[in-house]
């Protein structure tokens, strides 16, 4: 029940995959995947383990090159670029790795400041920006701690802080709640939600938890009360816009099985999609 990818109605998509094939020696993982993510949109990439979600994110960041097909990010044909050409583009993309991938020999502050130092930001500007972004993820007290001294959820939050420190227009999340308890997962999703609603980033979020997607589709951050509220309770226009900006993409057997709005997947009678609802 694959639905064709929606065209951007005149707007160039932030991320566009067209007939992307990718595999390794033991077979194809992705078989002709096509989809688009529009600017300021959140695409929830659902799929079971091994269906190619991480591969998709890594190809979007140019960390992997597809066997065939086209990957376009911010107007750049990533699949045809050399590593040296990709480096400047990657500075416009935040990547939150599944296990955080923090530099384990650096304290939290150095991890978060890494990208700023690489960009040649003045030292006196770095510290306040690092504090600000750590405040955003509510970890301003961990500046001097090493990643090994943090819990799994805290490492994930530092990873989000590191990804957004230079305010990239696109953030890619690789299973940001995998292996976390429900309370910590909710904290992470709230952060992603705030990031979306405060900074308007385009997000591609891979997960196997449908509830993460529904949380992003059904809630929004209210800047006046500074709280996360259900779309139905507050600001119909903004809430409707947020809900409309969240779409779902489901992978199955190397292809796109479903692409559509939150309501479509929630009301679907399809047996495979229902497995994610449990």
């Amino acid at each position: 029940m694959s639905t064709p990818a929606k065209e951007g109605a005149g707007f160039e998509p932030a991320i566009a995959f067209k007939d992307v094939w990718m595999g390794f020696d033991d077979g194809d993982v992705l078989r002709g995947v096509t989809f688009q993510v529009q600017e300021r949109e959140t695409l929830i990439l659902l799929g079971e383990t091994g269906t190619g979600k991480t591969l998709t994110l890594k190809m979007a960041a140019g960390l992997l090159t597809p066997d065939s097909g086209s990957v376009v990010v911010l107007g750049n044909e990533v699949s045809g670029m050399r590593e040296s050409q990709l480096l400047p583009l990657r500075r416009k993309i935040g990547f939150v790795f599944q296990e955080g991938a923090l530099f384990d020999s650096m304290p939290v502050a150095e991890n978060v400041a890494y990208r700023l130092r690489e960009d040649g930001v003045a030292e006196e500007e770095i510290e306040p920006r690092v504090r600000e972004v750590l405040q955003f993820v509510e970890l301003e007290d961990t500046l001097e701690q090493l990643p090994s001294e943090l819990s799994g959820g805290m490492r994930r939050r530092v990873s989000i802080a590191r990804a957004l420190v230079n305010r990239p227009p696109i953030v890619l999340y690789d299973s940001p709640t995998a292996g976390l308890d429900p309370v910590t997962s909710q904290t992470i999703i709230t952060l992603i939600l705030r990031l979306r609603d405060l900074y308007g980033v385009t997000s591609l979020l891979a997960t196997h938890r449908l509830q993460d997607g529904f949380a992003l589709a059904n809630f929004h951050f209210d800047p006046e009360t500074k709280r996360v509220v259900a779309n139905a309770r507050n600001g119909n226009a903004a809430a409707a816009a947020n809900a409309a900006r969240t779409r779902f993409l489901v992978y199955r057997d190397g292809g796109v099985y479903f692409e559509g709005e939150p309501a479509e997947i929630a009301n679907s009678e399809d047996a495979y999609l229902k497995r994610f609802l449990v």
Partner: protein, 280 residues
């Protein structure tokens, strides 16, 4: 379109199951050629990165501390006893001809031309190439290298070039120290075992050396530094198979690095002797 071994590509062509010995050998040969190509590519890029901006001076200093200062204890301890053994072994032969005073000459030439560079190369490979391989391998399997790439940093520039530069700069200094401490050990053995004069030992040792010996003795460590750093980085950055793979890469770095240093030593010795005949 991978232009570096760090830029992973998917399968270019689906491989069928190998059925014959020829195919198996053919695949092994292809893998070996591909490995040499990747190694050459990584080394070439690292050398190019040393001469182009941006540079990571802090990382280079840290690696100089790790490779240089960190290797001082093993170099000094080993050097002293290598010099001692050299004197005891050569003197046992010279005693038969009543020429024990020649031990200073022999020890100096052997240490400066050959033993100093070779032992330093092997010891530092054992300590640092393995350390580099395990560190970079661990970074790779925990996705830290991918994280670096995702943040717009070239790992070749950030991780490989500083280690290469540090090794190439530190190896001649460590070799000079190994030579000096080796001569000190030789002098101690000469004085206490052979009852030779320390002044006589040093005078003969210094007189025995000429410029060609020093050239040979300080060119080799530069090459050995290049080998140990690039092999360590290559093995670390091509780890496959998680933490077990890191262990294999570490062992492989020590073995391949040591063998390559010994092989390179033979060719460099031949080249140095040829040049010293022609030039000096």
């Amino acid at each position: 379109m991978a232009d570096t071994p760090l830029q992973v590509t998917g399968r270019q062509k689906k491989q069928e199951e190998a059925v014959s010995v020829v195919e198996v050998l053919g695949d092994a040969a292809k893998r070996s050629v591909a490995a040499v190509q990747d190694y050459a590519l990584l080394s070439g890029r690292a050398v190019a990165n040393i001469f182009t901006s941006p540079h990571y001076f802090q990382d280079t200093l840290e690696q100089m501390d790790f490779i240089g200062a960190g290797s001082l204890p093993i170099i000094m301890l080993s050097g002293f006893f290598i010099g001692t053994v050299m004197v005891l072994q050569t003197a046992s032969q010279f005693i038969r001809f009543g020429q024990t005073s020649l031990t200073g000459d022999v020890v100096a030439i052997a240490l400066v031309r050959e033993l100093g560079p070779a032992f330093t190369g092997l010891l530092v490979t054992g300590r640092c190439a393995t350390g580099i391989a395990s560190e970079l391998g661990s970074m790779l399997v925990t996705e830290q290298v991918d994280a670096m790439r995702a943040m717009g940093t070239d790992p070749s520039r950030k991780l490989v070039a500083p280690r290469l530069l540090a090794a190439v700069l530190m190896m001649p200094l460590l070799t000079a120290l190994m030579d000096f401490i080796g001569l000190l050990g030789g002098c101690a053995a000469s004085v206490f075992s052979l009852r030779l004069s320390a002044i006589e030992f040093w005078r003969r040792a210094i007189d025995a050396l000429d410029f060609a010996d020093l050239m040979q003795g300080f060119t080799k460590p530069v090459v050995f530094g290049f080998i140990l750093a690039t092999i360590g980085c290559y093995k670390g950055l091509t780890v496959r198979g998680g933490t077990q793979g890191v262990g294999r890469a570490t062992t492989s770095a020590a073995v391949v690095g040591s063998v390559m240093i010994i092989v390179a030593d033979a060719f460099l010795t031949k080249l140095a002797l040829y040049l010293s005949d022609k030039i000096f």
